[in-house]
């Protein structure tokens, strides 16, 4: 039986808020797990117009080059893009876990430890797609959805 609209809305909004509540803390203080948020291979990843190859490259940049970074997420919204994202459609009945989700996050970021440093407004768009290995994998960072594409921009 196909999921109801309620089930889709619940699953998608929870996926979006869970993502925002785990991804930004990882960027801030658990950089060693950053790569685990990304699908492989991902589509486009952009930071301020700089293209980054994949999740490993993002993690490498944050681990090796970024100063301490404080994020405050202030707004999150999401919409379902495709209820049956192609790579995971099994041919069986539709499931909420097969959808791809557009997530748009707004907030501010502070680069550096001092609280006196400026708060820079950012807007970031993600497309989350189902984690294809989720049915079998029981890894430490089990995720239902992974980043297919990401675009970060400082806007203030």
């Amino acid at each position: 039986m196909a999921p109801t609209e309620d089930q889709y809305a619940k699953a998608s909004t929870e996926a979006a808020t869970d993502f925002a509540q785990t991804f930004y803390p990882a960027l801030q203080s658990n950089r060693a797990i950053i790569a685990s948020f990304y699908s492989n291979p991902p589509s486009t990843i952009l930071f301020n117009g700089n293209a980054v190859a994949d999740g490993n490259a993002v993690q490498d940049i944050f681990v090796n080059q970024m100063p301490p970074t404080h994020y405050e997420v202030q707004s999150v919204d999401c919409q379902i893009i495709n209820k049956q994202f192609p790579s995971t459609t099994t041919g069986g009945p539709p499931r909420t876990k097969d959808m791809s989700i557009l997530v748009v996050v707004g907030g501010y970021v502070r680069f550096g430890e001092s609280r006196d440093l400026p708060q820079r407004g950012f807007s970031e768009t993600f497309v989350l797609i189902p984690n294809p290995s989720n049915d079998t994998g029981k890894g430490r960072h089990k995720r239902d959805w992974l980043i297919q594409t990401q675009n970060f921009r400082l806007v203030v």
Binding site: D6, A9, I45, N48, G49, D77, T149
Partner: protein
């Protein structure tokens, strides 16, 4: 869609002229109209009937202090250090019978200031909670009997027994900002409303006081230098003759009243802010800034401030300006005991991020200022990977349509499965010194998932299908976006293809490709007779469909926030490329295997080389050609991007480009 470089040049030119700084009138001072009726703004005409005496105060300004003035100084000092005596309050909305009033400021810098009510309600709640004695029983919570907002200040009336406790809250942190709490001394307007005794005992009318103050301001204002010289006030013969320094209460009220008169001479805030860049409060023997604190309300954008030869002992003496004057570049505190404090320089550097000159010594270079604003992730030009101008045409049509005919726009691009939602970020960082517009027209539709947690509300704030979207859009305020072509610097638009979209024809089981478009910009909106400017971020997913140009909007997410300007996406000036502490992150080019640091400044690399590399990256992003072929195309066309693109289009249509000219995975 490319950002304009013109604005960057302009801003550099501006900062280039302003950093000479300095308040002192170096060389010959600019003499102003001796009648004193210089134009302080349109409102100055209104008081032109009064012909003030010209020039008489001049000698007092430039003359050295003499022993005979000491007594007057003592009087001022006394006035400044103590609070004024209680006086009958004849103003409307004043304190109630038997109540004390305090003035609370500093909260406009708190996070709560972006609340819909400006943070007033949470501030009052916060104060009441703090006022409540820890040992008091439940239900006997302290109350603020009355409150009102005046500018940056909250005037709160409380029962007298709470006064002491309230004043102890001075310096407490409220939502990230330190509060300043002082006893209210019936400032500004009260002085103008009330007769003031003079030396000869004749009470002048408020209008007379106002006219005299206007004349004094006129004499002390140097229009061309944009300098307001408020030094040595105690020796100003006009002020002395007005009896300002006759009693403590008039002294305490004088400065706020003077600021009020200054503000009244301007018809609008913009003119008022532009009129003055520099203020001198030198030689006033102030022990702290309690009485002159309103200066920061009248001149929030001040660049140069001379506080020399006062009597500030420590940072606490000027703490009320900790979060004020965010654009201050020049500060002179010489002749104050505070300067001997070992932390003096570091504290001032910390307080004022734009400060360049402290006590006439350079403390920050332009490069250091620029470096502070740099992000560890360098700001690059927008990535715009369109095909056949599909996304570009959509964007042009969209914002014109959204401003002019939303119903038609919906018909053109939205179908029964299109989804729209909007969310409001009420606490987003914003451009300095802007009042955020109220969010009433949007807040009940906002689907900010951090605030809206109940599933039914989340669902009802999602608008699926052209009909619902049209219906919603007719209820949203009319908007005016800047023209994309005419004002490209106001926009940042990025776009690239994405796979895996739903196929409405149902033919493809592997999904179809389309575009992800992210737009950042601003718009104006007419709201109850006021024109408000807001910033927005809008993300679209476009797929093939039955709309104009064979496309459909699959998703449309609009995020609204307070106006935040467009500086964030302006490319960093090459001049600031000299890297001080903290080199920026070098992001290896993912697309074409360019060497690390390609397109970024590096030792031994010329600016021309960096610019050429950036052009290569841009061309590669647009054409999906490798860096090598992109470089060939550009160098063969004198590094002219348009010519290179034209050349590329010709070669591509002729089919003469080899497969290895393109990036792996790109379809030629």
């Amino acid at each position: 869609m490319k950002r304009s470089r013109a604005s960057r040049g302009a801003s550099r030119a501006r900062s280039g002229t302003s950093d000479r700084g300095g308040i002192r009138k170096r060389g010959a001072p600019t003499k102003v109209d001796r009648d004193g009726d210089l134009a302080m703004g349109a409102g100055a005409d209104a008081i032109r009937g009064q012909k003030p005496r010209g020039g008489q105060g001049r000698s007092a300004l430039s003359g050295s202090r003499t022993q005979t003035l000491d007594r007057t100084m003592d009087v001022i000092q006394k006035a400044l250090s103590g609070s004024s005596g209680a006086q009958a309050n004849i103003r409307q909305g004043g304190r109630g019978p038997g109540l004390e009033q305090v003035i609370v400021s500093g909260w406009k810098q708190s996070k709560a200031a972006s609340n819909r009510d400006g943070g007033v309600e949470s501030l009052v709640t916060f104060l009441e909670k703090k006022l409540t004695a820890p040992d008091s029983k439940a239900g006997t919570r302290a109350r603020i009997s009355k409150s009102r907002v005046e500018g940056d200040a909250l005037i709160a009336s409380i029962r007298p027994e709470l006064l002491e406790r309230m004043l102890q809250l001075n310096g407490f942190s409220f939502a990230g900002a330190p509060l300043i709490i002082e006893k209210y001394d019936q400032s500004s307007a009260a002085l103008l409303d009330q007769p003031m005794s003079t030396q000869n005992g004749v009470a002048p009318s408020p209008a007379d006081t106002k006219a005299k103050m206007t004349a004094i301001l006129g004499r002390r204002y140097y229009q061309q230098a944009k300098l307001l010289d408020l030094s040595k006030l105690a020796t100003d013969p006009d002020l002395v003759s007005m009896g300002i320094f006759g009693t403590t209460s008039t002294e305490s009220k004088f400065f706020p009243a003077l600021m009020k008169v200054w503000e009244m001479n301007f018809s609008n805030n913009a003119a008022r802010r532009e009129a003055v860049e520099s203020v001198s409060l030198a030689d006033n023997q102030l022990p702290n800034i309690a009485l002159v604190t309103t200066l920061s309300q009248s001149f929030p954008d001040l660049k140069n401030l001379d506080l020399s030869n006062n009597n500030f002992k420590d940072a606490q003496a000027i703490i009320a300006w900790r979060w004020k004057f965010r654009k201050l570049q020049f500060l002179d505190l010489t002749g104050n005991p505070f300067c001997a404090d070992p932390t003096f320089k570091d504290t001032m550097l910390k307080w004022y991020p734009e400060l360049r000159t402290l006590n006439n010594t350079q403390v920050r270079t332009e490069e250091e200022i620029a470096a502070q604003k740099k992000t560890p992730i360098p700001v690059q030009a927008a990535q715009f990977r369109d095909e056949s101008q599909i996304a570009e045409n959509f964007i042009r049509a969209f914002f014109t349509g959204y401003d002019n005919n939303r119903a038609e726009l919906v018909n053109g691009f939205y179908d029964n499965n299109s989804t729209f939602s909007l969310n409001v970020n009420t606490s987003a960082p914003r451009a300095l010194q802007t009042e955020p517009a109220p969010w009433d027209p949007y807040i009940k539709k906002s689907r900010n998932l951090l605030k809206i947690s109940h599933l039914p509300a989340r669902m009802s704030r999602t608008y699926t299908g052209a009909e619902k979207i049209r219906e919603l859009w007719t209820t949203l305020p009319q908007t005016r976006h800047p023209d994309v072509a005419a004002q490209p610097e106001q926009w940042l638009i990025e776009c690239y293809p994405i796979p895996g979209l739903p196929d409405i024809s149902g033919q493809s089981s592997t999904g179809v490709g389309g575009f992800l478009i992210m737009v950042h910009g601003k718009f104006q909106e007419s709201n109850a007779g006021r024109v408000e400017t807001r910033s927005f971020d809008r993300t679209f997913v476009l797929g093939p469909g039955g709309g104009i140009g064979g496309i459909r909007v699959i998703n449309d997410v609009l995020c609204l926030r307070a106006f935040g300007g467009n500086e964030a996406w302006q490319l960093e000036p090459q001049a600031a490329a000299a890297q001080p502490a903290g080199a920026p992150v070098t992001i290896p080019a993912a697309t074409a295997g360019g060497p690390p640091g390609y397109g970024l400044p590096a030792p031994g690399k010329t600016d021309t080389q960096v610019q050429q590399e950036q052009l290569v990256m841009q061309l590669s992003a647009k054409t999906m050609m490798t860096f090598h072929y992109s470089e060939l195309a550009l160098s063969g066309n004198s590094w002219n991007m348009d010519a290179a693109l034209k050349n590329f289009a010709e070669l591509k249509s002729q089919g003469t480009l080899p497969a290895d000219a393109f990036l792996p995975g790109a379809t030629a």
